[in-house]
Symmetry: none
Subunit: 408 residues, 2 copies
């Protein structure tokens, strides 16, 4: 009987035929003997993480794949990023992500990332705990120039525009409400007061005094975006009776896992970049089966190569994933191994697309089909057919014999 699950998500894995690869996709062109062997031992299919006709974001797609319908549980990127840096949200909180950026005396943005400043913890700390009209601002540092912001208080709303205009050489935006509600107006007003106050504090902050002396760009404005209002999310273990953990380099994926109450395991060498140590991640996934029922492993860089239009890089990175995937040949048949992506990132588009992604299920009880290669075209002929992200967890529960009976 099945006992454990490893879910491997290769970000942006899917692609489209590329002339310079002989009209193959990077996944088809890549030599993937290990994943092909795994596919030959699997039931295969194609998966639209959000459904046909949707281009999935990384946040929404992961929610669906993990069995949380994004239409119900996605409330803006802010909530996920904030959870990802370890903050605990409460019902009604408005969460934002943001950058420490540089503005001039007229509030024109000179650099959205303050020269890619690092070590912003003292700046975040200086803003943490400020209270304005009954709303408390909690501010924590993110990676690099990033910050996470929580507004906590009564009568808040996430229906507000970003203060961050997403480009330099324009003024920072005054936050305005997106609807006519009292809550949105209230939230926008208070956030504007806070951002002004934050600017005053940051301007005079010792860290910025030092940067001024060195002629460096000041980190003097908090450019916030992606407001989301938190409502309680049932934790993964409660929902599926699987204790779960996440192994990922990228903050967003750790954030999604934390958002669902999974433990986040830090693996040395997991960077979320092309240099990431995939083998270390897969080894950690296997060894964590001792402690967890469900291990979610995320590998990022195929997506980044797709965003850059670098199809050779994407192909080579997929070959690295495949090389590390040899480790899965030895996993017990009582471990359900799932390998898929979260969405396609076609090199020709340099962005996410709505094309489906191959998916394989390997383990005891699976109806192994005749597909013998892990790629976009072979897997269309798999036994699983064409599924959505929201089909995955019910399929897992079914294989475990954990789905309830409908009727008698």
């Amino acid at each position: 009987m099945l006992e454990k699950v490893i879910l491997v998500i290769c970000d942006g894995l899917g692609d489209r035929p590329i002339k310079d690869l002989g009209n193959l996709t990077p996944l088809e062109a890549a030599k993937t003997p290990n994943m092909d062997k795994l596919a030959s031992e699997s039931e295969c299919g194609m998966m639209y993480s959000l459904g046909r006709g949707c281009v999935p974001g990384s946040d929404t797609s992961h929610l669906n794949i993990l069995g949380y319908d994004y239409r119900e549980y996605y409330s803006g990127r802010g909530t996920i990023e904030v959870t990802g840096v370890g903050m605990k949200l409460q019902e009604g909180d408005v969460a934002l992500r943001g950058n420490f950026g540089t503005v001039d005396e007229n509030f024109i943005i000179k650099d959205r990332r303050a020269g890619r400043i690092r070590g912003v913890a003292p700046l975040a700390q200086a803003l943490d705990g400020i209270e304005i009209d009954g709303v408390t601002f909690l501010v924590k540092p993110g990676t690099g120039h990033r910050a996470a912001v929580v507004m906590r208080g009564k009568g808040l709303s996430s229906a507000i525009i970003d203060a961050d205009p997403h480009k330099p050489d324009v003024p920072v935006r005054e936050v305005t409400p997106l609807d006519e509600s009292i809550e949105a107006k209230h939230t926008a007003r208070i956030l504007n007061v806070f951002l002004k106050k934050a600017w005053e504090i940051l301007q005079k902050h010792p860290l910025n005094e030092e940067r001024r002396k060195k002629g460096e760009l000041l980190a003097n404005y908090l450019l916030v975006r992606g407001a989301g209002q938190y409502k309680e999310v049932p934790c993964f273990k409660e929902r599926y009776a699987f204790s779960g953990c996440c192994i990922a380099g990228g903050g967003l994926y750790k954030g999604v896992a934390a958002y669902l109450g999974m433990d986040v395991i830090d693996v040395p060498g997991a960077t979320g970049l092309p240099d990431t140590d995939i083998e270390a991640k897969f080894m950690a996934a296997i060894s964590n089966l001792k402690h967890y029922d469900f291990v979610f492993v995320h590998v990022k860089a195929a997506d980044s190569f797709g965003e850059d239009g670098n199809f050779r890089g994407k192909k080579e990175f997929i070959e690295k994933i495949d090389h590390a995937a040899r480790l899965f040949h030895e996993t017990s048949e009582n471990t359900l191994l799932i390998i898929t992506g979260d969405h396609s990132t076609p090199c020709a588009l340099k962005s996410h697309s709505g094309d489906p992604i191959p998916i394989i299920f390997r383990g005891t009880g699976v109806r192994v089909d005749k597909v013998a290669a892990f790629n976009e075209r072979d897997c269309t002929r798999g036994g699983m057919g064409i599924i959505t992200g929201m089909d995955i967890m019910p399929q897992v529960l079914n294989l475990f014999g954990k789905l309830p009976l409908t009727g008698a």
Copy 2:
């Protein structure tokens, strides 16, 4: 990158296995080397225009295929026919289609088409503009014995029965409301007054005086049916950012296109009948790519052969389509070519059915699958899987990179 779209809809294309064709469908039995080659360069699938378990009408199926959910945008055949003859509808108008027919002195229908009269424009003109209790009747001639009628005024409803009983030798129907609303009662009452008045005018019309002298059937009654109430439809260009045109012989298809704000291109020789000049239509489709982003070409007669139960005629007509389809071999790979049908019209049934129809997508970026023949059974193994009509436009937008991101 993709730049243009040609959508070819072969009406009533799908069928069922026929003993006399060696248990093949007409499409399978037909020699279709050109469409087979196109299929081998395509991603293929099967399409239910309205969804499983629905037998599509020609109007509803075309709406869905063009991305307008019939459950939202279909409001009776009248609206489409009326638009097809060039009338502009306003929100709240009730549109009807009708025939000029022959009734005797007791209002018994002697011929529903007045001996298939032609040249009804003077009759329509005599009825055009009549006003009854604040409702204006706009009447335009259709093809042959047909007319298009618009009721314009406040408080109208399309919830009324047809005045046309759809068979001869019975009395014309008094129009009655289909629900208890004041609007339906009001509309029925006024329409009855109009039809009576129209009869009075038609009886004495010079054109009928002449027919009486010649011993021809009088066109003395307007048999109306298919009431639909217009509500505004977002135009195709606005909805999809594609300028669109339609090439069709049949009025209904031109009507659907006009209803969606597409231009209708008249191609000499496009008759909507078995003698139609398919090559001229396909050539016009290709040459109109210079002027339009999206060309919708409709070919009718396979459906008519199906309705007649003439499977050999259907097979031969499909071979004619295939011969003309050789023209598409030369279209640029930056043109997305889609070939499909609107529904099946099995010769054994002599009517539309709910069986799905093969569909192919050919052009840059498409994940070409292993299907090498365009027919009902090979296409079931295509990479696209089984889709609905409403999946087509999102899939087009996805290939063009035009779908919005859901999430971040």
